[in-house]
Symmetry: C2
Subunit: 249 residues, 2 copies
């Protein structure tokens, strides 16, 4: 049975304050819970008995057989999930060599939890392991973000840091950003390493971060010169850019 | 003043039933309202007086100076917009020549209003004018969808139709879809016309529509063979595909 106290605890983890206090976060549904079992320590998992049997291995500190009604009360989703896991937030690390040799995303003030989750999911698809976020970017452990990653949160490591300091410490590595006056990304030569900076949904990349961009790129609209949307959704633009980098290898 | 009756009417347009009954829909914010003024008949527009002055031309049947408090009561957004417009749903048409010569999107059961809006926005960016949707796809006039288009709804024409009948009527035009066993999209030869079919978020393309796909494509993940997300978000995948089609021209 999923106790009232545990339901209250799960619900409290909707707030970043409580997630920080406990160092935990919530994931819902068999796919994400299963993916996370392999990468994060699990505080407890509560699910329908037949679903719990299907998750292998279950390495939680506590395994709780729950009813649909209990899961519905604990859930942040409209439809009750078959399983809910509470996981400890991992300590994500990276090596200097990875920083220099691999391709990374840098998110400068992405506000929408869904956009962040979608970006983590596509980063996983395109083989990007590390994402560096400004402190004002949405929280990776926001339940909406966790769900939007569709399990990619188990493989992609998200770091929060002062981006100006971070990029200044890593000079020598190319820093990419999209700007209207940038080079056509379809014909640009793109190496297999560097930082791809994506800016806030409404305001784009901050001025002080823009100054640190060493390669300005541009996704052309079609046909050239037509009146069109002024921009692409940030997760969509990130996908087109990552696809262009990976297409060349 | 935005009357209580008008606020009630705007709020009622959250439901498809009422949108169909009145043949209208709601758009919020200066950008979208301005874009729509050029393409749709406006029943009425309500906004802060200084914002109304900035929208040119205003061709609404009624122009209402409103207060932030009134706009907040009428709005579907968390933050009160500076202007709200109620527009008549346009009758979208297309020609046989356009069907044969241009590139179109075909949406088979896209459920999420935000995904649909994001797809309309990127279609506009990539010069796709017509989108054909199965009847069970989210409604283009859902307030969440309208907002997610960021004004592209004024330029992209969305049609709802039985997709099986529609595609069978248009044989001879290539029909593209993404499948795990498809051809690598990065190296495929892609013409400038045809229907790109995108499937439901969870279930993909329906079997009976899959049978009508004449060119199977695949977006490779990176690196090949790595355990990764099983799929991309549907708007993200649509963007990568449209970008690949437009890159070649």
């Amino acid at each position: 049975m999923l106790s009232k106290n545990k339901i209250k605890y799960i619900q409290s983890l909707k707030d970043k304050k409580h997630r920080l206090e406990h160092g935990t976060f919530v994931a819902e549904g068999k796919k994400i819970v299963s993916d996370l079992m392999e990468s994060c320590k699990c505080q407890f998992v509560a699910g329908l008995p037949e679903i719990l049997e299907e998750i292998e291995p279950i390495t939680a500190e506590e395994i709780i057989a729950a009813t649909t009604d209990e899961l519905k009360k604990a859930s942040f989703l409209k439809t009750a999930p078959s399983v809910i896991g509470v996981f400890y937030q991992p300590e994500n690390t990276f090596s200097e060599k990875q920083l220099k040799d691999d391709l990374h995303l840098v998110l400068d003030g992405i506000q929408d939890p869904g956009n962040l989750g979608t970006i983590v999911r596509l980063a996983d698809w395109f083989g990007i392991e590390h994402i560096f976020c400004s402190p004002d970017t949405a929280d990776i452990y926001n339940p909406k973000t966790v769900q939007a990653t569709m399990g990619a949160i188990a493989r992609v490591k998200v770091h929060y840091t002062d981006l100006t300091d971070f990029l200044k410490k890593n000079t020598g590595v190319p820093v990419y950003g999209t700007f209207l006056e940038g080079e056509n990304i379809y014909t640009a030569e793109l190496p297999a390493n560097g930082f791809i900076v994506m800016g806030n949904e409404g305001n784009g990349i901050r001025a002080e971060i823009s100054e640190l961009v060493t390669r300005k790129l541009f996704i052309p609209n079609y046909p050239a010169g037509k009146t069109t949307s002024e921009s692409l959704n940030v997760s969509v633009a990130t996908a087109v850019i990552c696809s262009e980098f990976r297409r060349r290898i």
